[in-house]
Amino acid sequence: MRRLRVFGRRLIASLQADRMAGELRDEIASHLAEATEEYVSGGLSPEAARLAALRRFGGVIRTAELHRDARSFAWVDDLRQDVRHTVRSLANSPGFTLVAAVTLALGIGANTAIFTLLDAVVFKPLPVPNAHELITFFENGPEGPADPLGGGGRFLRFSYHRFERLARALGPRGSMAAVTRSSRLIARLPGDTQRRFVQAQFVSGGYFSTLGVEAARGRIVTSEDTRLDRRSSVAVIGDGFWRRSFGGSDAAIGQTIVINEVALTVVGIAPPGFVGMWTDAEADVWLPLTLQQPLHYANNSNLRSD
């Protein structure tokens, strides 16, 4: 209890260093004056009395230092003085200050950018239930090991038929889903006079059910939407996109949006927080994989060859 009080008082004294030093100065001045007076009444001349009082006191500056060490945490006071000195000298050389500030800002900015990327790619958990049960399939290519982060994505690619064969081989032991990277496609929404870009991802029929993600409104893309014998022109939109572009209205379901000149019907809205599997590139819309050709999706448009 006493230690706590002493700690508190020392801290306060550290922050009030100037006031405390001033009080001590006054106190020492009074002390020396009293002592001088006593020596004078003992018969010494004022000068001699003053010197005798100082000698008896034994070092005013040393006393002030000892007093400071006793009453406060010297480092707090030192820090305070250093900060004050630093601010003053920075203010005196604004050019240097500007260069230093810009250097720091760039350094911090670069670090933040790198961490943001790392966070999205490595640290942030996938926005789906039981993310630890998910496995990414990739192939080691002839030129070296695959890039499991999907950076280049080269060896993460499978033809649709290959994907279907793998899914069949997996059978009832699990479910398999495919998704493309986000692509910026040109879209026109109902009432739009200008076109806009949307981040679109093409997904296989089992994509949402494999991840365990259900539509917040309407329905998700299902395997019925990815049959090769007929085209299903539907789109599931993300929660953020829905709020931004449709004002979060239930009327969004059933609306027609035009993407890459193909009219699609909004059939469902993804739950809040689900932004797709590429957490560094959040999706606005999810489209059936089988719409790649009609939409002229150039990255992976070959649905036929193996």
């Binding site: 009080e23 009074s30 009293e34 007093h67």
Partner: protein, 121 residues
């Protein structure tokens, strides 16, 4: 008048540690005092055998004050000067009796040692 330096060095270690106790005892005996009066009083009671630099009193005073054993407020000296006046607090009174007992125990132990070593047996 000026203290002998070598004498001071010899005295300092033990006596500086007991300076707080001396201050508390002085304030108990005489009530409120300012720094210079405390210093003079300690010199008088020690029969001028103890001549600490008077400045060493002030770090000791601030420590006692921060511990809550003495209280300080600005007042006036007999000659009308603005001085800081120190007084014993209730906690200080308790501390004084504890420290007195401790000191007496310590000195009696050291005393016994010294007597044994003087003993030729």
């Amino acid at each position: 008048m000026a203290p002998q330096n070598d004498k001071n060095d010899r005295n300092d270690t033990i006596l500086y540690g007991s300076l707080g106790l001396m201050i508390l005892k002085t304030l108990e005996a005489l009530g409120s005092l300012h720094g210079y009066r405390i210093a003079r009083r300690i010199e008088q009671i020690s029969g001028h055998q103890l001549e600490l630099n008077q400045g060493t009193l002030y770090p000791a005073l601030i420590k006692l004050e921060q511990s809550g054993w003495i209280a300080a407020k600005w007042g006036e000296s007999d000659s009308g000067r603005r001085v800081k006046v120190y007084a014993l607090t209730r906690a200080g009174r308790k501390q004084l009796s504890e420290q007195t007992a401790q000191w007496q125990r310590a000195t009696s132990i050291v005393d016994r040692f010294l007597k044994i070593s003087e003993d030729p047996a």
